[in-house]
Subunit: 403 residues, 2 copies
């Protein structure tokens, strides 16, 4: 009898747990995510080079509906990958970077939308087993050797064209929205201006329609530590005993520095008072830099120095339409737009988003939305990634608006 | 008779010219400036090293009055020298950096004040024949060789102490005001907190009472190109055939980049549209960077790499009082203060000046002025140097106010 009661209680608690799991799961958790591979037999870059066997990874969340009209494309940021949400394994330490807004019931609701995300060409995290990309670290099928710097310069437009080829292969010809942060905003904007009939809504997060000379030279400073690393060897290091790891790590440290703002940085890293050795030797470092570099060195283990240089160049060359007049090109965009700069962003500033927004409405003929809201926060550019939930209701409403 | 008339006319025109010269001269032009040399037989740094035969250059504008009560000290910025105003030769291409506000009838009126300015220790422009400084490039009298990195770390306090020794030697014990831009503001603040009875007015221009971890790491990025230059050789390059000139030039380029803001940079340097090669090779540069580097390389010819590293370190370590609590130390300041940050400054931001101002008034006991005004402009940090005339009337009024 006592056992029977115990069994009954056990059963009840099991049923309750399952019920709870299912409710919570439906409201918050994606099923495990699977990385998929897309291969193009040939791909011709904007610069005119034809590459063979171009591969990229992609993943998706939610269900594609019958008429394939419920697709939202997420384009990833500079240091990011296609892993925008969910987990590959239940034991993964963290979910994809925008898990706060992508999932069942969330702002980008996977109960409603089929959300798809694609690794860029020359993705920085080429050594991450979950990343599939083609870039200078890839084997050139024609030679059997790594491309190195013989890989062509690739552009934001090239990233978009690879994504388009994937979507075409899946029979997807309309996008309910394209949403991307930072370098992902460049791709999202280029999608909307290049294929205005396909893109129904556009959300550039911490984004801009152009990179100016000032920003391009700031980006060049990220490239500098790699180019100065004696082991970089003009990009021909793959078969060498020494790798440009130190330069790569310093590049990543500068990227983090530029992506934070003073408040965020000072909150995250130790202050200077403990750094007594620095008062006695100009070579002595600061613990804030040591910590910044330690994290950067760890991240560098999944990255490739040349890939980072190619992403720097793709970003430096970014302007809507990739021609000489981005202000004109941006007017091709027909989709309603929601600009979401981060209030404290010193890298791609709210002013750049405002300039982009103004250029889009400059001729006064637009009848669709061209809104801008600031993401609040203390982390500068990074608020576009890690404080994105702060504008989730507004994003959700924008995506739900009928055309 | 004709000759007599001609002579008379000539005489008249000569008298008129002289009169005009004297009026104009009194209103706008300083007499030619002479660099002077000050030597200390011994000087003990804050870090406890005693240096012998420490020399610095100085210059002055205006006349010292009988009771030596009309002295204004100008403390110079990172890349600057004691040449704050006037010309050494009538043929000089440009006057000292603050000539717009220092001179007869100007905001810092040399008809009224004796204005004095001193080269810092480890001044960056050690190869400028008009600069006299002691630093790692100097000959160590004990060895007959250059100090290199055996030169001790020097601090803002050390700069102040050398200035104080000079003023003591001149019998000057009160300062009507100390006025300094950027790194000069650090010295000015340290003067006022360390010698509150001597400093009667304080004007920190594009200044701050502290450097936080974020700013210190940004400054470390200036040091990085030098430390990475293979010819730097841990500072021991003076007798070597190769010099770390490339690293020094890149350091100066990054300094200019950080001292400008986007509007100023994009106005001054070419945009990216002409840079066609950059689309074909990730090694191809941008004309904006080429121009930035060309100017930097020219400036580097007067500078020393180690000196720049020592100034970076002095700036990184700056906090009022040089202890663990700058907020407490700053309260030693008794002088009325006029903070003059530049509105568009991304290097030493208006927020840093505001934080400093607030710390000074934090205990609510101050009865003297603690004002702040923004210098307008498009050039970021550099507006504190080259648009200083925009706040000249306010500066003049502040300096004229009785205590």
């Amino acid at each position: 009898m006592r056992n029977l009661i115990k069994s009954g209680a056990l059963l009840l608690s099991l049923v309750l747990s399952l019920l709870l799991c299912s409710i919570v799961g439906q409201a918050a958790e994606l099923p495990l995510v699977k990385k998929q591979r897309f291969e193009l037999a040939t791909f011709t870059t904007q610069s005119g080079t034809t590459l063979k066997q171009v591969q990229v990874g992609w993943e998706a969340y939610g269900q594609l509906n019958a008429d394939k009209s419920n697709v939202i494309l997420i384009t990833h940021y500079f240091s990011g990958t296609s892993h925008a949400a969910g987990r590959y394994q239940a034991t993964d330490a963290a979910p994809g970077y925008w898990d706060a807004i992508i999932g069942p019931g969330k702002a980008i609701d996977t109960n409603q939308f089929y959300v798809i995300s694609v690794d860029t060409l020359a993705n920085a995290n080429v050594k991450d087993p979950q990343v599939i990309t083609t870039g200078p670290a890839s084997i050139n099928p024609a030679t059997g050797k790594r491309y190195g710097l013989s890989f062509p310069v690739v552009t934001i437009t090239d990233f978009v064209e690879v994504q388009k080829a994937l979507l075409d292969s899946l029979g997807i010809h309309k996008l309910h929205a394209v949403v991307g942060a930072s370098m992902g905003s460049f791709q999202a904007i280029e999608w909307a201006q290049r294929y205005p009939a396909r893109v129904q809504r556009l959300v550039p997060v911490i984004g801009t329609a152009y990179i100016d000379a000032y920003s391009a030279i700031k980006l060049e400073r990220w490239a500098y530590p790699i180019k100065m690393d004696p082991h970089w060897q003009q990009g021909d290091y793959y078969d060498k005993p020494q790798q440009p790891t130190a330069g790569l790590a310093m590049a990543l440290a500068w990227i983090t520095l530029d992506a934070l703002n003073p408040a965020g940085f000072n909150q995250k890293y130790p202050d200077l008072r403990a750094d007594k050795a620095a008062h006695l030797d100009i070579r002595a470092s600061f613990s804030a830099l040591d910590q910044l570099l330690a994290v950067a060195t760890q991240r560098a283990s999944l990255q490739d120095a040349n890939h980072l240089l190619y992403l720097v160049r793709a970003s430096q060359l970014w302007r809507a339409g990739m021609g000489d007049n981005w202000q004109q090109a941006i007017k091709n965009i027909k989709a309603p737009v929601l600009w979401l700069p981060a209030a404290g962003d010193l890298l791609l500033t709210p002013q750049m988003a405002q300039q982009s927004q103004q250029a889009l409405s400059a001729d006064g003929t637009r009848s669709t939305a061209n809104q801008l809201s600031l993401i609040p926060g203390q982390m500068g550019h990074l608020d576009g990634l890690f404080n994105i939930q702060a504008i989730a209701p507004e994003l959700k409403a924008f995506l739900q608006q009928p055309l």
